[in-house]
Symmetry: C2
Subunit: 327 residues, 2 copies
């Protein structure tokens, strides 16, 4: 049994707990939290909850520690720190800072002899893998990534900071015509506005100026001003009833040419349609936790990404079984 530890019991931490339950070769060993452990009620019977600062004391009870913090401030500190004592997996998703994060984790992991797999999930993660495979196969081609339909936490938060807004949920939606043009091999050059629209469901405070809220949202730089944005005002009850889920998904498409004179076109498309963004992300994390465990057993250490790990390491099945049933 691979003994899994969870650091941080939010949406991701709860998702890991569910994923461990689905994988017969794993067991949940402990949950570590920055809150008062007595206040954290987990679902798995008989598993202890400890203070995050006590994690190191339990390092011999855990094979892989999954870091469920955020990319902005938690993981840049936590991943290099905890890889000194544990094999770790994180979902660091600030694309621009991945090279620095990788270097920091790699140095710490090589010193400790542990494995740190970073940026695991679906983007970065499965989408990255599909971009890589498709680029290696169709050398002469164009990449397209569309996100959604799904909830963007960052954009929902941005709306909540607008004056007069009580609550809000924002959906990122791919433009169907753009998707279709890409699938048809037309290789369009697409602007930000042509790729995605943004749908906002907003609960206003009582007596708020609705026209002003709508204007403030639609003109917000970076978040909304470059998009066709719709704002729909709803009640708190409607928000809870119709918009409580955290669905997401998207499309990675590569369109490319082969042949002596590039005469043949090919489309590779990978898509996800997810009821729960955090539960899918954690299902990917847990598969890579298995890889971290095995690679470290083989004597490997250092920082890794999904690019560095042979797919067979993700599976609980033997090479023989995989070749016989999935190849």
């Amino acid at each position: 049994m691979i003994r899994i530890g969870i650091l941080g019991y939010g949406n991701l931490g709860r998702g890991i707990e569910c994923a461990v339950k689905q994988n017969d070769d794993m067991e949940l060993a402990a949950v570590f939290t920055r809150r008062d452990p007595a206040s954290v009620k987990i679902q798995t019977e008989g598993v202890p909850v400890y203070k995050a600062e006590d994690a190191i004391a339990h390092k011999d009870e855990i094979d892989v520690l999954i870091l469920c913090g955020g990319s902005a401030t938690d993981l840049p500190v936590q991943t290099p720190e905890f890889v000194k004592s544990f094999n770790v997996v994180d979902s660091f998703d600030t694309h621009a800072n991945i090279p620095t994060h990788f270097a920091n984790v790699d140095a710490a992991a090589k010193a400790s002899g542990k494995i740190g797999i970073i940026s695991v999930g679906w983007d970065p993660g499965m989408f990255s893998l599909n971009r890589l495979y498709a680029n290696c196969i169709l050398v002469d081609g164009s990449d397209y990534t569309f996100w959604g339909k799904g909830v963007s936490q960052g954009h929902s938060d941005a709306i909540r900071r607008v004056k007069g807004v009580k609550n809000a949920k924002q959906y990122t939606v791919p433009v169907p015509e753009a998707l279709e043009a890409v699938r048809n091999g037309e290789n369009p050059e697409l602007t930000t506005r042509q790729k995605h629209t943004r749908e906002c469901f907003v609960v206003p405070e009582e007596g708020a100026d609705l026209a002003q809220i709508e204007k403030d949202i639609k003109t917000m730089p970076n978040y909304f001003s470059d998009y066709d944005t719709t704002v729909t005002f709803i009640t708190e009850e409607e928000l809870i009833r119709d918009h409580s889920g955290i669905p997401h998904g998207g499309f990675v498409i590569r369109s490319g040419k082969t042949g002596w004179n590039g005469e043949n076109n090919h489309i590779i498309e990978y898509s996800l349609k997810l009821d729960s963004n955090p539960e899918f992300t954690t299902s990917v994390l847990i598969a890579y936790a298995r890889a971290a465990y095995r690679l470290n057993k083989e004597g490997q250490c250092g920082a890794k990404t999904v690019f560095d790990i042979a797919p067979a390491y993700l599976s609980a099945k033997s090479g023989e079984e995989l070749r016989a049933h999935l190849l």
Copy 2:
């Protein structure tokens, strides 16, 4: 430069030649053929064509030999034989015989210190990879593979053997309603007939009994009797004008549940739409040739499949570049 050799100059061999041209870190070193080399005209200037039986004499001129023979009789003999002298990649696609083929290639490759990557292409190959990744992520779920729309060489050949048939082309077509049900997460149990239809375009010999031909095709066991099959009679000119391409493609879909009580559903879909089946296959083969070269340089040997190879090995780019631009 990675020096590529081609064994067998048919559709796959010609595809490899085109793919080498697209990859700046590779060069075509030689083509080996069972025909008279003087009769084989290749497209690349200045590259020699040799007799297949003389290949061993040129082993020091070649880093990876790509075996472009068929799975029925060529590859079971060729791959274990040539891996005694070369790093090799093949597209062995008889799923049921993969375990035996792997064992034969593995023994020979371990004895010679070479790498033999088998069953590379899109199915087996990219479809297999997607089945594996999706199974590791969505542990509780169902797999669906649909093929087409595309030309099945085996079924076209079967029609050509029917009495009164001069020429024919067969398309395998996924049933749209079945695809839709799978995408909707309905997890349908699908019979052979419910998944694919077969469209046959047949050029009859002069004076042939068309009704008899249609009956012979539609009732042919294994090939057609389990499918809804349509037969359309056309002229040789129409066949050449409208059905000369070798397009193919398909869909690998996994539908699975996560959550403490399996309350959330997820769909992972991978699809290919290919103008040229052999050119796409060879584009995959050449990426794995790069991996074979690198793995062998690192001192590895033995048989491998797509499951055993970390994605980064397929790319000409460095780990730093991949992390900065594709992750």
